[in-house]
């Protein structure tokens, strides 16, 4: 098994220390793109195991944590080396909601999948999303929220994008424990997800990226 394959299997099995040690080793030998690719393959497996009911949310949180540790190791090189990205996601928890666990798991999985994620925090007012869309020109806007009350904030954010003529320039995905098809229709989003792995899969679909 190549070192990269070993990373994939250790990461997918959530063996934290082994994964970290292997990544440290790989840093000496491989271009960043290939290490990222190994992370993508590993989180794909984690996602599949989650969809199959072998992994649960606790495993997703843990995988997100492992990826964040890997990212810390890669960061110094990331500044020098270009890596290819699938697209840019502007991400935030909508106004009135200050929860971020779901947002942070999604962020880790999206980054592992190869997206560039710009995280603008929690309790983000619609106008701030509008300004950030103008500034960063993302492909996708990800609106996160835990509480039912966040759903109306999501709608108001999407309405604000419409009012500024920005809605057609981006895809919008809403995410969180309480969003569903009804919430998608109400808010006018393009997609909804109640798990990080489903969210990442949908982001790829929204951009027409084939698996």
């Amino acid at each position: 098994m190549s070192l990269l394959d070993e990373i994939v299997s250790a990461f997918a099995d959530l063996d934290e220390e082994r994964t970290i040690n292997l990544v440290k080793e790989a840093l000496e030998k491989y271009p960043l793109n290939e290490i990222f690719d190994a992370c993508r393959r590993a989180t794909d497996i984690v996602g599949e195991r989650y969809e199959r009911g072998e992994y649960f949310l606790s495993e997703l949180v843990y995988a997100g944590h492992i990826f964040n540790r890997i990212l810390e190791l890669l960061l110094p090189r990331l500044e020098r080396e270009r890596v290819s990205i699938l697209g840019t996601i502007l991400l935030g928890t909508v106004e009135g909601d200050v929860h971020d666990i779901g947002k942070n798991i999604f962020k880790a999985f999206a980054e592992a999948a190869g997206f560039k994620v710009i995280d603008i925090g929690v309790d983000v007012p619609p106008q701030k999303f509008v300004e950030a869309v103008k500034e960063h020109k993302p492909d996708i806007v990800g609106l996160s929220g835990l509480l039912t009350l966040a759903i109306d904030s999501m709608k108001r954010t999407i309405d604000a994008l419409k009012a500024e003529g920005l809605r057609d320039k981006v895809k919008v995905i809403i995410g969180g424990g309480r969003v569903d098809e009804y919430a998608k229709n109400y808010t006018g989003a393009d997609a909804w997800a109640d798990s990080a792995t489903k969210g990442v899969k949908l982001c790829k679909e929204l951009l027409g990226i084939k698996e």
Partner: protein, 412 residues
């Protein structure tokens, strides 16, 4: 309404609820519609900031919504979040209820770090206060915690979690606690008068009188944060187990009234996060033990199974029959009703997101179809699966009420 009228209505509602809980068919399916604080504030025409920081306005808003949207269950009379100190005072029942709820004014006094409020950290019209928790115990402090949980929480966690209590024994900290107690007294008087006024509207006092948490949720909410406790489960499972056992020995709970506890609320958070291996080792044995020991003391549990609990429905059958009420959020209540038939009363069924965007007749049709499947045999209470947010069209809320009155009838 005459005096006897509202007593009759309350009696009828209570009978309806009791029948459902005891697997008899009531006259009709009981209805519980948890309107969230934001909905109540908006309907009455005030901001949520005013609602949370002015008890009189909150009372009027609750009375108005309870009048205009009548259901079988009284609105929640707990206008606040979970105050950590309340959990530590359960051996002092003569004062514990003063610290039962963390209200807006109480947040100002204690300056806790684990909640956020409209008009303070949030905009004055934010839908509700929010509990966010915090890491008030470090990962390397499990041993100290296990040695004496109450002492560790009182002496280490409380000062870390409340800015006003940062220096225990200081004049500032003493003043804050005394002011908090006085505020608590004001709040208790408010809830007492609210309960009296609700009684005049025919609402039985059917609210839970205390609240507790499964030890792992307690760790997640107040000590380690949810991601923190999930990492600890990987890195130091033995320590987590010891902490859960230590919490279990002297289970913390908060009380909301000076009367003896009659029913206890247990909101579950980490249930849907855990794999079966973790669930059956770190969660279920504790939850089962808590429910069973309260049941043996004649106290009924109201358990909110947050998120998806589908994977663990069968285990509920291990509890004594008629132990209480199981409220489901994203679990399919049809499936739950089938599995728990004749054993556990099931509550839930209507996603509040449906009410946001549907027409009143679509809502009615949804409720009709659902009731057709789940009402036979009793043991079912219709409720929205989460609080109804402010922007929900009121006509859709009314449509749920009408639909239950129309299709939820067992006998005329």
């Amino acid at each position: 309404m005459h005096y006897t009228d509202f007593e009759d209505i309350a009696e009828q509602r209570l009978r309806r609820i009791e029948a459902a809980i005891n697997f008899r068919e009531p006259d009709r399916v009981p209805l519980n519609l948890p309107l969230d604080f934001g909905f109540r504030a908006r309907w009455y025409g005030i901001t949520t900031y005013e609602f949370f920081f002015d008890y009189e306005k909150a009372k009027k808003a609750i009375i108005k919504t309870a009048t205009d949207f009548p259901t079988d269950f009284p609105p929640s009379t707990i206008i606040g979040s979970g105050l950590l100190i309340g959990f530590l005072l359960k051996d002092y029942p003569e004062i514990a209820p003063l610290f039962g709820a963390l209200t807006g004014p109480m947040h100002d006094i204690l300056r806790d770090k684990y909640t956020r409020w409209p008009g303070r950290e949030l905009s004055p019209n934010a839908g509700s206060f929010q509990f966010i928790g915090g890491e008030f115990m470090r990962a390397d402090e499990y041993d100290k915690f296990v040695e004496n949980p109450s002492e560790f929480m009182a002496e280490v966690v409380v000062p870390r979690a409340h800015q006003s209590l940062e220096r225990p024994g200081s004049a500032e900290a003493m003043a804050a606690l005394i002011r908090a107690a006085l505020e608590g007294l004001k709040y208790i008087k408010f809830t007492d008068s609210l309960i009296n006024e609700l009684a005049k509207l025919g609402y039985p006092s059917a609210n839970a009188t205390a609240l507790t948490l499964v030890p792992l949720d307690f760790l997640g909410d107040y000590l380690r944060t949810i991601p923190g406790v999930l990492l600890d489960l990987r890195r130091k499972p033995d320590k987590v187990k010891e902490a859960c056992d230590a919490l279990m020995k002297n289970l913390p709970y908060r009380t909301f009234t000076f009367k003896p506890i009659s029913s206890i609320m247990i909101p579950l958070h980490l249930n849907e996060y855990l794999s079966p291996k973790l669930y059956y080792e770190f969660y279920w044995p504790y939850l089962k033990n808590i429910i069973t020991s309260f049941y043996n003391r004649g106290i009924r549990c109201h358990v909110a199974f947050e998120g998806r609990h589908d994977a663990y429905l069968e285990s509920i059958l291990e509890l004594p029959k008629g132990w209480g009420v199981a409220f489901f959020e994203k679990t399919d209540v049809r499936k739950a009703k089938k599995i728990l038939e004749g054993h556990t009363c099931v509550m839930g069924g209507v996603p509040p997101t449906l009410l946001l965007n549907a027409t009143p007749s679509e809502v009615e049709e949804y409720v009709r179809k659902l009731l057709e499947e789940v009402m036979p045999g009793g043991g079912f209470i219709l409720a929205t699966s989460a609080p109804i947010p402010a922007e929900t069209p009121p006509e859709n809320v009314k449509s749920v009420i009408r639909a239950v009155e129309k299709y939820g009838v067992y006998r005329r």
